[in-house]
């Protein structure tokens, strides 16, 4: 495979970007669309004290859930932790800080970070003290809104169906979910992909994430976990 941009690399080569105490953003929804090889690599390297940002904490043995259940995270920013009992347990024991954000607002905060906006205005969850806690309000046309800050991360990890050598990505069905947003919000974005193809072989109209946002591409071996329904 030609590699004119130097973006196609290996799992071992990208491991240098993961370190203790870092902020890590991940694509995926209930583990669907989360990058399995990257998550295993981070586990094996023994990286700790992570701040994880993503839709949910997966299941104990699925997706980002592996890092959570092995207590590698000190903080999670997510919309849901219910499918991973370890997340709730560690939260109650004071070992894991959890910042809950309504799902669509979380997605939009990540998107804002990814497109260079500092914050968004929202009217979601204003009846809930947990959502409004510590957040400023902004008045616009006689209505009050919550200021929801944008989210970025040192590294974003995403999972895609195909990448070309520039890092243009297309996704597979509902495995797209938060991946295109997460891909934009990392200072460094690493895409784990099912298939790497030659430049020019993706239909330009079908590309969902532009390679502009993708720094490194590694091949995937597919998921190595059993799904909750199996």
């Amino acid at each position: 495979m030609e590699n004119p941009f130097g973006k196609i690399t290996t799992l071992a080569a990208v491991m240098e970007f993961f370190h203790d105490g870092m902020t890590l953003m991940f694509g995926g929804f209930g583990g669907v669309g989360s990058p399995p090889a990257l998550i295993d690599g981070i586990l094996e390297k023994g990286v700790r004290d992570l701040t994880l940002i993503g839709n949910d904490t997966g299941f104990p043995h699925i997706g980002i859930g592996k890092l959570v259940s092995q207590q590698r995270a000190v903080k999670v920013i997510a919309s849901h932790i219910g499918s991973n009992p370890f997340a709730g347990q560690f939260m109650h024991e004071g070992k894991l800080e959890v910042e809950f954000s309504p799902q669509g607002i979380l997605a939009e905060r990540i998107r804002a970070g990814g497109v260079g906006l500092p914050a968004i205005l929202s009217d979601i969850g204003m009846d809930n003290e947990l959502v409004v806690k510590g957040k400023p309000y902004y008045s616009l046309a006689d209505k009050k809104y919550l200021v929801e800050t944008a989210l970025t991360a040192e590294v974003s990890i995403v999972y895609a169906k195909k990448a070309d050598a520039y890092g243009n990505l297309i996704y597979d069905k509902s495995a797209r979910n938060t991946n295109p947003l997460v891909a934009m919000a990392g200072d460094i974005t690493i895409a784990e992909v099912e298939e790497i193809v030659q430049l020019g072989s993706l239909d330009p109209d079908s590309i969902i994430t532009q390679g502009v946002f993708v720094d490194y591409i590694i091949p995937s071996k597919g998921v190595n976990w059993k799904w909750a329904w199996q």
Binding site: F29, G82, P102, A107, I124, G125, V131
Partner: protein
Amino acid sequence: MGMAVDIRNQMAKRAAEEIQTGMVVNLGIGIPSLVPNHLPTETMVMFHAENGITGMGPSPSMGEEDENLCNAGGFPVTLNKGGSYCDSAISFGMIRRGRVDITILGSLQVSKNGDLANWIVPGKKVPGMGGAMELAQKAKKVIVVMNHCDKQGKPKIVKSCTLPLTSAACVDIIITDLAVFTVNEEGLLLTELFAPYSLENVVNKTGCKFKIRETVRMIPY
């Protein structure tokens, strides 16, 4: 537990009566997920899933599952004709922009003015709100399908919610195993009863006062 299964389907069937051709509908887990089984085949609905599916179809047959085609609960589904995929921001854009006609969800408590509390039991489960706040606040019609009382026999329809709110004054219809209520600014209106329950049964098991429609429909199934 034949009876229990039956009433779950009766509640789902009642919820299905609210759905018409052309609607975009989001279903929660549990009883709401049974609703599609009770729709007439000629009713053309686009089922919306928070994880980025519009036009979601039924579960695939065994062996046909696709790990990259799952609903928001993580279980395999299919895509109907005309369906499409999008990212999470677009999916919630549809909700906040008011393009979702109906959301059908479960709840822990509903108050007489339609406050919804379905995401947190303090000191117990803290699963997170997921997409419930956006759906409750922005779907055009919010239908709650839930047992009339909790496992301890305490009313789930209450004067004011003791659990943290998902969203205030958002519920339009409550369907329980006993009765159906509509909700508006004036409070609750009982409109229908499931056999064999009487008005007295419902009054005794409800934690607040409610009005009763002049002609109460006895649900015929």
